[in-house]
Symmetry: C2
Subunit: 342 residues, 2 copies
Amino acid sequence: MPTTGLRPTIYDVARAAGVSRATASRVINNAPGASGPLRERVHAAVAELGYQPNSAARALASGRQRAVDVIAVTNGPDVGWLGTHPYFSRVLAGIMPVLEGVDAQLRLHVVPHGTAADAIGEIAAQATLGAVLADATPELATRFHRRCRRVVSMVPTAGSVPGMEADNVGGAYAAVAELHRLGRRRIAAVHGPAGNPCAIDRRTGCLRALDDLGLTALAGLTADGDFYREGGHAAALRLLEQDPALDAMFVACDLMAAGAVQAVTATGRRVPEDVSIIGFDDSIAAVCSNPPLTTMRLPVEEMAATATRLLLDGTPASGHRQRFPVELVTRQTTQTTQTTQN
Amino acid sequence: MPTTGLRPTIYDVARAAGVSRATASRVINNAPGASGPLRERVHAAVAELGYQPNSAARALASGRQRAVDVIAVTNGPDVGWLGTHPYFSRVLAGIMPVLEGVDAQLRLHVVPHGTAADAIGEIAAQATLGAVLADATPELATRFHRRCRRVVSMVPTAGSVPGMEADNVGGAYAAVAELHRLGRRRIAAVHGPAGNPCAIDRRTGCLRALDDLGLTALAGLTADGDFYREGGHAAALRLLEQDPALDAMFVACDLMAAGAVQAVTATGRRVPEDVSIIGFDDSIAAVCSNPPLTTMRLPVEEMAATATRLLLDGTPASGHRQRFPVELVTRQTTQTTQTTQN
DNA sequence: CTGAAAGCGCTAACAC
DNA sequence: GTGTTAGCGCTTTCAG
């Protein structure tokens, strides 16, 4: 059984260290049951030979892959939507630092909505450290959770699926309240897609604030967007036509808000002097907009990092929930003072 | 050897179909040497048992993992830069559709510059379908290529490393020429980081155009940015101070260009009436900017898709190069006509 | 505390 | 064509 191939195997390490493969394995995985002098010899052998464990063999033998799966579901046939949606990048950005140095790989799965059920089943079947569901619907999340408990969802999900929950309702409420505090009284709103859980919560918070503020009449001054810039642009134009004198807009995501800012200025109005705008997310769209967007920050990176740590720590408890605040980040679409900050 | 576990193995499939494991394997991988009736029986068994191949076992036995690795190198310790840089998302967006349905997984590696050499060695050691280097330096790319030929780089790289090459020089040249064609004569430029290969090419193209156009004197009206919005903002401010009458800017990436647009309008100038701006990339920053950016489109998605297909097709030939054009996308930072397109 | 041995589930020569 | 037989490189009982 001596190894001949170019890449050293654990067998080579064991031989070089003068121990058995079992012992070599133990020290390499720093598992208990090997000690002192032997550990050193093995480590030395590893260093000398430049040994690198074969992850496939390891996965096969142990029955578990050192990988976390990130799953995104696309709506259309267009699997490339990612390129234009900052959200997914942020979840990746949140996950990566926590995977740093823990010897776990990150696998990406973008599954078309149609085949999502099957695809999710396949992924759940491979025993990995677990999966982060970026935007799965409650049904899909539940389905995954039934097959594999090592999973956590990043969006509001049903029942027992462990999830990270941002205070979308509270954030939207706070945004409208802020607009009101600024003296705005004709507040329009651009909501997200009707069926989207996050969008529903944000809409709820917005409506509730309008109501509490005695602005109930404005509940009709709304349009539905698609969480993309184009939708925000179009919705804003529609709203402006519906009430040319509106003085503020709450827009349920930054991408749409960026489009709204473009629409508002294109009609000759000034932002924020004539109309104040507050977005949601604090994504890259917020800072690229001109003027930069005041927005409600959704701590996506933190949420994703927490989700990942949960998976790394073991199987998350069924029904586990972790709440995250959504906070106001003031930039220039709400403040008239032209300070030369950013 | 009958299997007892919950997940069916190929052994179960073989038994159910009344064939040997080898035959089952053949039809599952639709390899030659199994035919007609048997194929059907195996397929039926697969369907009935809900068999799903174990990827680890497959990888171990075949010596090759069905995975493509995407590698990004970060400059700082901050592995989360992704969240704010649209480029990486675009390479992912380009890769994913081509991996769709080919039973190959996508693995992400973000390695800090410091440990990049080691990390890259480890990745090269695992035999996968190959790696796409998103932003590796020529040295790192060469290093990887020495250990593993199944690799292609997305940025200008040294020698024999297969690579996708966008016409950065030509694109920058065309941008400046366009500004000139529009009647602009005081054209400033914001370049990228000094050592970045793409930035270098864009700078070259810009300078060459300035020269050919007889605008050599302007070669001094430049600033170096960092490929981030903040850098573009600051650079634009500096330039405006240096020459308050400048009437155009060529900015080497959209993120910086978005910052430049903000800076220009913040000083009371109008875009594009007072100063025209052309960015580079055609990333999400271009459309979120206000007004939306005219830019030179770098076909990142196409490049990434091509790179991936190359890997899927086998080992790319050493020194293989594929060129991509960089084309002008006209939006509103160069056109005064206020058509309501956006 | 250490080693021997038995697989993990699959593929790939090699015989039939 | 199809089945038999070895392993792939590692982990993990189980003895010693």
